[in-house]
């Protein structure tokens, strides 16, 4: 049976892609961010996941505003990246696992998450930058199921709904027959705002609260309605929905193994968190 080894939350700021291409890892601006990945590399080398489920938001590469799903699950054998129009390098493609994707889709829809199913799907920097950060040698030794959450066009799904989505994914992973070690990833955030007179808004205190509660009491975060979350985390800080879904998929007893938090990367409070999904009574499904 498939087993969930743990979760990783990481920022996916586009300029990271440029910094990687220009090898700026030791540059004083970038070092506090990149150095937070040393632990991640060691942990991944020890745990050796086979497959990765990644919750992320598309920024206008695969989806446009004409037809915008709230939740979309990739079911493709391969996911390509393309020019996103921002001058960041185009990434190599990511390998998919359609059989596992369809298992997750079946589980989600049986659980009344009526997702959009994508047999063809481009993935943007919100998938490829976390991949490049986790496996900088570009080995990318995992197959991927991308799950896209709308964080762009309101109304957005609630924090509670995203937590429940993650829990449904977690149950589906654990009911999969193949003997896979599965890593769950949530990307984006933390606090930042790109638009409006409030551009540049960052909220360290709230980010720390979110990271703390995400480990021990994610339900406590569901009290924030989306507009309130925008006020506290910034207009694009709502990418934290991806982290909520990731946390929901961790079905066992969850322990934080590593955290790095640094302000700023571009306009963003950058965060990297590794969580272990241990055996034992975890949070029960809603």
């Amino acid at each position: 049976m498939a087993r969930i080894i743990g979760g990783i939350g990481t920022t996916h700021v586009p300029s990271i892609g440029k910094a990687i291409a220009e090898k700026k890892h030791a540059d004083p601006y970038w070092k506090p961010f990149f150095s937070g990945f040393g632990y991640v590399h060691g942990w991944l080398a020890r745990e050796r996941p086979d497959t990765m489920v990644i919750f992320y938001n598309d920024h206008g590469l695969n989806f446009f505003l004409d037809k915008l799903p709230t939740f979309a699950v990739g079911a493709a054998p391969e996911y390509r990246n393309e020019d996103e129009g921002w001058g960041i390098p185009v990434s190599r493609a990511v390998a998919g696992d359609p059989d596992f994707s369809w298992h997750l889709i079946n589980g989600l829809v049986a659980d009344e998450f009526d997702v959009t199913m994508c047999q063809e799907m481009l993935v943007d920097h919100a998938v490829t930058i976390p991949m490049a950060l986790m496996w900088p040698d570009e080995s990318w030794p995992v197959k991927v199921v991308p799950i896209e959450i709308n964080t762009v066009q309101h109304p957005l799904p609630s924090l509670n709904r995203c937590l429940a989505l993650g829990r449904s994914v977690g149950r589906a992973i654990e009911s999969y027959q193949r003997d896979l070690k599965v890593l769950v990833v949530g990307t984006g955030g933390l606090s930042h705002q790109l638009d409006g007179e409030r551009a540049g808004f960052i909220n360290r205190e709230f980010d720390e609260l979110c990271m703390d509660r995400l480990i021990d009491q994610p339900e406590a975060l569901t009290r924030y309605a989306i507009p309130e979350f925008v006020e506290l985390a910034g207009a694009q800080g709502v990418e934290f929905l991806n982290w909520m879904a990731m946390r929901g998929a961790l079905t066992g007893s969850v322990r934080q193994l590593h955290r790095n938090y640094h302000i700023p990367i571009s306009n963003t409070a950058a965060a990297t968190v590794v969580m272990e999904n241990g055996p034992g009574a975890g949070l029960r499904a809603a």
């Binding site: 409030r198 551009a199 960052i202 360290r204």
Partner: protein
């Protein structure tokens, strides 16, 4: 209850159904800038390119002004507007500075200070 979600947060326009409807043509044009050929076509003949995408007068004026706040008023979504800004070599610090009326250096300093 109003369907307008963005009454309450200062300096913030939630990109909701109202904005999405208002901004469709502008955002569609910006979406086209994922292609290098389209970016070049815009630079070659901006008027013709904007006309092809059916921008409203307010959207055309906003693009002409290069002012992001005006583009947001005209329904632009920042992820799409950033693709347009990229054509002019502007990144999110540049447009952050523009929207807040700061110099780019002062805006970057403000970001660094948020970490202290």
């Amino acid at each position: 209850m109003s369907d307008d979600m963005s009454d309450d947060i200062p300096g913030t326009t939630l990109f909701d159904g109202e904005q999405a409807q208002k901004g469709l043509a502008l955002n569609r044009m910006c979406f086209s800038f994922n292609s290098a050929a389209n970016r070049a076509a815009f630079l070659k003949d901006e008027d013709a390119y904007c006309q092809k995408y059916g921008l409203t007068d307010a959207q055309r004026a906003a693009v002409k002004s290069r002012q992001v706040l005006q583009m947001i008023k005209a329904g632009g979504n920042v992820y799409y507007l950033a693709k347009l800004a990229g054509i002019f070599g502007l990144n999110v610090q540049d447009i952050g500075a523009q929207q807040t009326g700061m110099t780019v250096e002062a805006f970057k300093r403000k970001l660094v200070e948020a970490g202290r």
